[in-house]
């Protein structure tokens, strides 16, 4: 065991950081896309069904296939990490988008009515009322997305994007369960950690009814 850690410890560390970077970047992109789109959907509700539908379909594409689809694309396909981040972003869209939309739609209509009637501008309504009141919902979506993506990111190793999946793939190829575990255990811990941290944040933003 000690000998194994001595041999692979450094690698596990590097790959964990790589894994974090892939997932983190994807979460950033997904949030930057899904939250504004979710807000826009609350303004134009007739688009809600089709747009959420599309992100739903994205979610159903098997991850290995998704990495495959992105491979031949120009620019994106040039770097494995780009493919991985794009694919993870696609998977993270739905939970964040859906929760942003549902979180804002679920705000007490009387609160929105008064915000309008007392002369808050659209921007003030969004930043002072809607986003703060929907924050715990949005964070819940981000939490689901993060946990899912930490798992899916292991498959990014299939296209050479690195991350903890690399150890898993190598372990499977060489029938070495220790290597599989060396990839799987840190990935699971990362998921649990992200879940716990975002869960705390979510409770912090919960608004008592």
């Amino acid at each position: 065991m000690n000998a194994f850690l001595n041999q692979y410890g450094g690698q596990i560390g590097t790959l964990t950081v790589e894994h974090l970077w892939l997932t983190g970047a994807a979460m950033l992109f997904a949030t930057a896309i899904a939250v504004p789109v979710g807000v826009w959907l609350t303004r134009s509700p007739r688009w809600a069904r089709p747009v959420i539908g599309i992100s739903n379909v994205l979610q159903t594409i098997p991850s290995l296939a998704m990495f495959g689809f992105l491979l031949p694309l120009p620019w994106l396909g040039e770097r494995a990490a780009r493919i991985a981040i794009a694919a993870l972003t696609a998977y993270a869209l739905l939970p964040i988008l859906r929760n942003t939309y549902a979180g804002i739609c679920g705000i007490d209509p009387a609160v929105i009515e008064v915000a309008r009637a007392l002369g808050l501008t659209g921007r003030q309504r969004l930043f002072k009322v809607e986003l703060p009141l929907a924050a715990s919902f949005i964070l819940a979506g981000l939490r689901t997305a993060t946990v899912t993506c930490v798992g899916i990111a292991t498959i990014a190793a299939a296209v050479g994007a690195g991350g903890l999946g690399e150890l898993i793939f190598r372990g499977v190829a060489s029938v070495d369960n220790r290597l599989v575990m060396a990839g799987a255990v840190p990935a699971a811990l990362l998921a649990l950690l992200a879940d716990g941290a975002l869960g705390l944040l979510e409770r912090r933003f919960k608004v008592p009814a």
Partner: protein, 281 residues
Amino acid sequence: MAPAIPAIEFRNLEVRAPQGRVILDGVSLESAEGTVTAILGRSGSGKTTLLRTVNRMIEPTSGEILVHGQPVHSADLIALRRGMGYVIQETGLFPHFTVERNAGLVLEAQGRPRQERARRSRELLAAVGLDPDTFRRRYPHQLSGGQRQRVGLARALAADPAILLMDEPFGALDPLTRAEMQDMLRDLLGRLHKTVLLVTHDLDEALYLGDRIVLLSEGRLIADLPREAFLSSREPQVIEYIRAFHRGERDDPLRAPSFSRSVRKRWETTNPNPGGEEGSR
């Protein structure tokens, strides 16, 4: 003396629902500066719609609304709304803001400095009967229904608007709290000189707070009378409305035993000389 410009004037107002149903049908009405106009009517009579056209929460299909002589449809929407207090039955307090921040919301929206907002919040909370030191740090969910409504009123008054729009503000409260709130509001309005549109279906409330009483039915204006003249109106729909409140009474409901005792008492003490206190016109 030239007639003063009414604070609020509805000119032949018509509102249709998208499906074409008529919600307001040719309503013309004037509300004089500093008076309380109580708008009565059963559910669906269009009274809330009428109120909401003033701050353009609803745009009329045709007709015009003038506020202090200026048509609202050409006014700047945000400025128009900030110039009017708005109080609704559900209060719509912001659950993530403290009482103090809720009360100072309009000032915050206007970008006024924090100290000014805090000072004004204290003033307002005291004015609506809440001890600022006890309540300013609380959140809406820590308040009773009546206290919430008081904060809602404080918020509506924050920017010292000339006009106050109130949509069944006390409709969800128990009778005792409601009576307290009515007393508080009456007292407050006596000092503040606001023009108030008060939507209610409670005749007692309308008589207690209103200078004029307006009855709407199916989107039409049925009556627009000074408070004192309302009960003696010969208009069949007014009689029907009063009867519904004081069932079984044929004569003056003020003298009838079923007329809310507390209101009658207040009525008699505040109107020693009925007819002499009439608001306007």
